[in-house]
Amino acid sequence: MNLLTYDFVVRALLGALFTGLAAPAVGTYLVQRRLALMGDGVGHIAVTGVALGLLTGTSPTLTAVVVAILGAVLIEAIRATGRTSGDVALALLFYGGIAGGVLITGLAGQSAATLNTYLFGSITTISPADVWVTAVLAVVIITLALGLSPQLFAVAQDQEFAQVAGLNVRLYNLLVSVMAAVTVTVAMRTVGLLLVSALMVVPVATSQQVTRGFRSTLLAAMALGMSASLGGVAISAYVDVAPGATIVLLALAGFVVAYPVGVWSRRRQRIARPFADDPDDELALGRLLGDQHTVVPETHGHEHGQTCGHPAVPHGDHVDYVHDGHRHAPHGSHYDEH
């Protein structure tokens, strides 16, 4: 059976391709500013948008985009003014969004099943017009994410530096928020509002297990997101399972495979790192640090700590231990006399 002869499968694969590429591209910047759950927050807010669409009889996608952008800008505003910490702001909007969505859907006289197609995706019912909207928005998002990557990278990496470099920090922050909101609503039909954040974050988490640079992380995450999306749709076409959930589980499987590789390569790097920057010659160190910093070349049978029984004396930024009539402080590989 050749599945590609079915139009709805082709449409589903195209939708998956574009969302799979766009979601991790935006997700990389969210993870970089340690706002990995922002996609989730925006997704929850978009539920209210979908419900408003159902209530007013307009396109739920359109109302979801508008409400999601408003929500994302609100999250950014709360974060930027710094009155509430980012995660509390997200939590407030999470619950408001989902409760509002359920309430308004009830008012609209729609069943929970209608809402479910948006919460968990229904890529097989995607229309040709939906595919076009998805493709255009995804191309715009990918163009911005790649074309402005030096600027977006700098702003997320160090906001103050970016500001002094003359970048319009507020504008770029807002841009990332709006891109996240648009991505969420684009991916709503593919993986659903409750799982969209997974497609934004999990490929990034997977790729950064094995990459060392930002650009390689971004590109690898996009490739991983695309493979998971296409693979998930293909599997769900053969086996009767939910495509959205399959996509997310495939992405998570990628992480489970990559994580041990990441642990192993980081361990290898640590072992291979030379000690050249850290002269361990204790006499040289003693001379360098002067007479107040006496290195004691005696060996210890144990490491001083809370359980060793020697009296502990807090001393500035470290703790000394009284030991054979003098105070000792652990310092790297040796003990200092104080």
Binding site: R34, R83, D158, F161, G213, T217, D277, L289, D317
Partner: protein
């Protein structure tokens, strides 16, 4: 004497309020080209706010700040300024290589969407070499030591080939050996005639580089002149006595940020006093 073109920074009667609390008052400061200025002072004295005011990161409520003769509000030649903010780490949520972090220092000279030019790449290479990290340019910044990360941030500021380098606590939390390497990197810059403004707790190995010190106390300039011995630990007879920063245990919070209290907290505090 100096011509107006030599003036890098001018502050006339500058004052800063944060959250309604005066942080800086009556600041008059002129920095000329080629000067190496150290801003010293205890935690909460306003030294960090002073450079943040110069960089436009905090608004002034009085007075005027001029950069290269242009009022700060109308100053757009940010490529002439290299800023090293006070940070513990150069790492963020996603891995980034040394080269990528340093390359963001070129953004003040680049336009969005245009690819980097040959001179951008050369400047990034030169900046990485200048701080002695040439063999690590492809490494992830999070795998480097604290001192090396600090040098990455300095290379980022150098990549824009700035006329003035502004550093906020560049040696905080950096061990003595790395401070020495850092001092050597700065010396090669001052030898080329760069202007440097440096905020620091204590000069340590940087002492010999500095030719002017400003000491902040309670938001005012308490001393402005040549660095006196008391500020430097560079006396070889005494050695580098400090390998750590002494915590200011009696000062609440860090660095003069206004404490944010809810109305209830404030009421209770007032009752008590």
């Amino acid at each position: 004497m100096s011509t107006p073109a030599d003036l890098v920074v001018e502050v006339v009667d500058g004052a800063v309020e944060l959250g309604g609390r005066p942080i800086l008052r009556g600041i008059d400061l002129v920095v000329r080209r080629g000067e190496v200025l150290a801003v010293l002072g205890a935690n909460g004295s306003g030294k960090s706010t002073l450079v943040r005011m110069l960089m436009g990161l905090v608004p002034t409520c009085r007075g005027e700040v001029r950069l290269f003769g242009t009022p700060r509000e109308r100053f757009h030649d940010w490529y002439r300024v290299g800023f090293v903010p006070q940070r513990v780490s150069a790492a963020s949520g996603v891995p980034a290589s040394v080269r990528e972090v340093v390359a963001s220092g070129r953004l003040s000279r680049r336009r969005p969407f245009l690819p980097r030019r040959r001179e951008d790449r050369d400047a990034v290479d030169a900046a990485i070499e200048a701080v002695g990290l040439g063999d690590k340019s492809r490494d992830g910044v999070s795998t480097l030591s604290g001192g090396q990360q600090q040098r990455v941030l300095i290379a980022r500021a150098l990549a824009g080939v700035p006329d003035v380098l502004v550093l906020d606590e560049p040696t905080a939390g950096v061990d003595v050996q790395s401070q020495q390497a850092f001092a050597d990197a700065l010396r090669s810059l001052t030898d080329r005639g760069a202007t440097i403004i440096l905020v620091t707790h204590e000069l340590g190995p940087l002492g010999p580089l500095v030719d002017r010190a400003v000491v902040m106390r309670d938001g005012r300039v308490a001393y402005d002149g040549p660095p006196i011995d008391a500020f430097t630990d560079a006396d070889p007879a005494r050695g580098h006595a400090h390998d750590h920063h002494h915590p200011d245990l009696d000062l609440p919070g860090s660095d003069h940020s206004p404490s944010v209290l809810s109305p209830l907290d404030r009421a209770r505090q007032e009752e008590r006093s």
